[in-house]
Symmetry: C2
Subunit: 495 residues, 2 copies
């Protein structure tokens, strides 16, 4: 990554152009996306300076803990996945299976899978069906059935270019007017608020309960609904991120039921962002789809008209293939005429990347026990999983020892979101720079240590609280020590 | 491809859901995208029936001439590109370069390129910079410099998931309000009208001159501008598709100058859709960027503040890799503060597919004379080019002989857009079905022959004229004969 487009203006920039920052689409202007904002840009500047041999910085590496980008850091791709993808990109390799095996260790199941996928997509260079190749949607449907124990229909599945693109599609269709509202957890992943800004629709915040490991409080949802309705907002949907980003929380079946109760009563479309479904450290993941189907059996009638869209992705979990932009969403209980409009909407962009679609297939249908590639797959998968858990706990232990820092126990996802209590003098120094105090803290952290995290204000937080989000993807613990040391010095300086 | 989501409703579909087709985002509802509309869906149904052994249809194959999807039809991917991509997907292959060479014919330049790209992106599974990996943007800048003879800056380049995604980004930023207008050629590729519908902005049509091989008439543009302004529309940009889709027209440097003249005088952002820049049969391609830079030298001052965004893609040309969703746009003369907003906008979706970005690099930087992979590359590239030219001319000759059909000589792109004059009885029969006459004709053509084309109404056409668009990608001439035979029978039936 290099510095993005410079914002320095020269004299000739001030001529009579049509477009100026103050006359473009105001909704684009209003959108905020801190994950790749000022701090990330500055971190990248530091990285480039270090790469060019600059010795003037007080650190020798930049740690991008601002974004869940596993393969930018330590995580190696899973061999089975990449072997298959290499054959999809160059099917000519399939002409010599023996050489593939003897020289490169490709097993028969790799070759079989590549052939099957090629039969389904014809060429990864051809446009697929706009919802994604049928063969791949069939695999995803089987995965969902096995995960949940309830049927899934390939016609209800829409592959997309990462879950972000799916979220954008859903919000585009749902938000009908400027008074359309969507309940969004706070703190949240800023894709939601940014997309609602772009659509000129209303974000209706509901606050998660930090003290209950960032649990979802159904009373907070109901209060937000009442307030929003009183303000004339037509609340149409509720977003739930489970496991949570940035919070790392993992919802219990009971929590999920309480959200579905509100959805059924208030006719809210449920957008279940479940991209971290395999990153669960405490208990086990329950999907919204499964819980909904259970409730529909248990209480006939009550949940029949709940509309649910649930999202998954190749970017996170032990797959970590963000650069491939693969994901899907499943529609449950949607009106077929609405689904037809969603189909038309996605068809305008033709189709999601086909190689990313194939990676979705591999994610949902990995080698099975007894198959030649299983052993290595399991070893790699479990190794990544164990590494994430270990680093999460190490980071958590470090935060517990830092003055003024409180951190909930990690339950899932790839993040910790500690709260920080800063001395009044630090808050004053931030105000003097015209910055929120958490942003001030994160900038000083970056300047001093090269560790890039994202201030809590980028995700939303209760008034008078400060946080930051850090991933626990970066290898080693040196960078954790850097944070500990910086924090002590910072607190001492502003005491 | 299979049938998209069914639109059949059942009794239980009519319950009290939140979302109905009549209360979703009305701009999504209003958007039209015929390329993947009713005809394409029906063609896919026929394909599935044939694949299942259905013998009841009057044809034995479906010809998808509705969409520029080369690898769905005959076109083979270029070997060099796919060899490199296979190494990017599985870098472990690079450990045995001798085996790659001896068993699979990978040359040293393939290996070198893969290593270079991997050094630039780290992993194709990692998010890149939101504008695209810097190394790849540097290659694109060199390509533009060599093509045009004028400098290009990597900071002004934005890689995107196919040109469609770039167009969407640009229109999102440009359209500031419901009275924002964009001049769009008619006929046009419906991405433009669809995206303007989504943004609730105004399409300001200007008609191309069919009788002058679909040339761009600057007087038509000026008249459209006057009319739009009188209606209160603030016209902010003009779209030019060169070579033309669906028209196949190729603009002369003089035509381009006349568009730039209007842009300079009227302060219009120029969106130059140049995705077919290598598909030119007559004369040679001149880019808008090159012409703009020439004019800026020739007439100092006059063109200094023209804002130009030009787009290119891996989907078309001799590359034909639509499924990889790779493309880029270059900003010329944009205010840096506006460019910063574009950066923020694209960063919300994180980054374009990284393997698609790498394919952009390969497209703009193919093997050079003297390099080991050059000979095969040139042979494949020229073979595709020659095949396209031959089929274009064969189709053109067939159209010339058909009663009531007039077709302009093919100049570029992948399409012909003949006009058809239908007997009054055919027009009446169409009206009785509540369909535009060209749609009626295309449906009958599909039902009778399995050949899927798109009615002119999907692209826009002058009142009282009828057209259809067909690609000339499908191999062989059998399908052309099917059209000729059908047409004669259709004309006889309704005479």
């Amino acid at each position: 990554m290099t510095v993005p487009y410079t914002t320095k203006r020269t004299a000739s920039d001030l001529g009579p152009r049509r477009l100026r920052a103050d006359n473009i689409n105001p909704h684009v202007k209003a959108a905020k996306y801190a994950v790749r904002g000022e701090l990330a840009v500055k971190a990248e500047e530091y990285r480039v300076r270090l790469a060019k041999g600059d010795k003037s910085l007080p650190f020798d590496s930049v740690i991008f803990a601002n974004i869940g980008n596993p393969q930018q850091l330590d995580q190696k791709p899973i061999t089975f996945f990449r072997q298959v993808l290499s054959l999809l990109e160059n099917p000519a390799l399939l002409q010599k299976p023996e050489a593939l095996h003897s020289s490169f260790g490709y097993n028969q199941d790799v070759i079989d899978r590549a052939k099957k996928l090629l039969a389904g997509v014809q060429s990864v260079g051809a446009y697929s069906h706009s919802q994604g190749a049928p063969l791949i949607r069939e695999s995803v449907a089987r995965f969902i059935e096995e995960r949940d124990g309830f049927p899934a229909n390939p016609q209800d599945l829409y592959l997309c270019a990462g879950a972000s693109s799916g979220v954008s599609t859903l919000l585009n269709v749902i938000c009908h007017a400027a008074n359309a509202g969507v309940l969004v957890p706070i703190p949240q992943y800023p894709l939601y608020t940014a997309t609602l800004s772009l659509l000129d629709a209303q974000c209706v915040p509901y606050y998660l309960e930090e003290e209950k490991t960032w649990g979802t409080d159904v009373e907070a949802i109901r209060q937000s609904l009442v307030r929003a309705k009183a303000e004339g907002t037509e609340v149409r949907a509720i977003v739930v991120i489970n496991p949570g980003n940035p919070t790392g929380a993992s919802l219990s079946p009971e929590d999920i039921k309480s959200v579905l109760d509100v959805a059924a009563e208030e006719k809210l479309v449920v957008i279940a962002d479940e991209v971290y479904q395999t990153n669960v450290f405490v208990g086990e993941f329950t999907s919204f789809k499964k819980r909904l189907r259970q409730l529909q059996q248990e209480v006939p009638g009550k949940y029949d008209n709940v509309e649910l869209a649930s999202l998954h992705s190749v970017s996170k979990g032990m797959v970590g293939e963000c650069g491939h932009r693969g994901g899907y969403f499943e529609l449950v209980g949607f009106d077929p005429l609405v689904a037809a409009e969603i189909y038309k909407f996605v068809s305008i962009m033709l189709c999601p990347p086909v190689i990313g679609q194939c990676l979705v297939e591999l994610m949902v249908n990995p080698p099975k026990k007894g198959e030649p590639s299983y052993e290595l797959y399991a070893k790699e998968y479990n190794g990544i999983s164990e590494g994430l858990r270990k680093r999460a706990l190490a980071l958590y232990e470090a935060f517990k020892q830092m003055e003024g820092v409180e951190c909930q126990e990690p339950q899932g996802a790839m993040y910790l979101f500690p709260s920080i209590t800063l001395p009044p003098k630090a808050v004053e120094a931030a105000a003097a720079e015209g910055r929120p105090a958490d942003e001030f803290y994160c900038l000083r952290l970056l300047d001093a240590t090269g560790v890039c995290v994202v201030p809590g204000s980028g995700f939303g937080q209760k008034e008078n609280t400060l946080h930051f989000r850090t991933t626990f993807l970066a290898p080693g613990t040196d960078w954790v020590d850097r944070i500990v040391k910086f924090h002590a010095e910072f607190m001492a300086k502003y005491k």
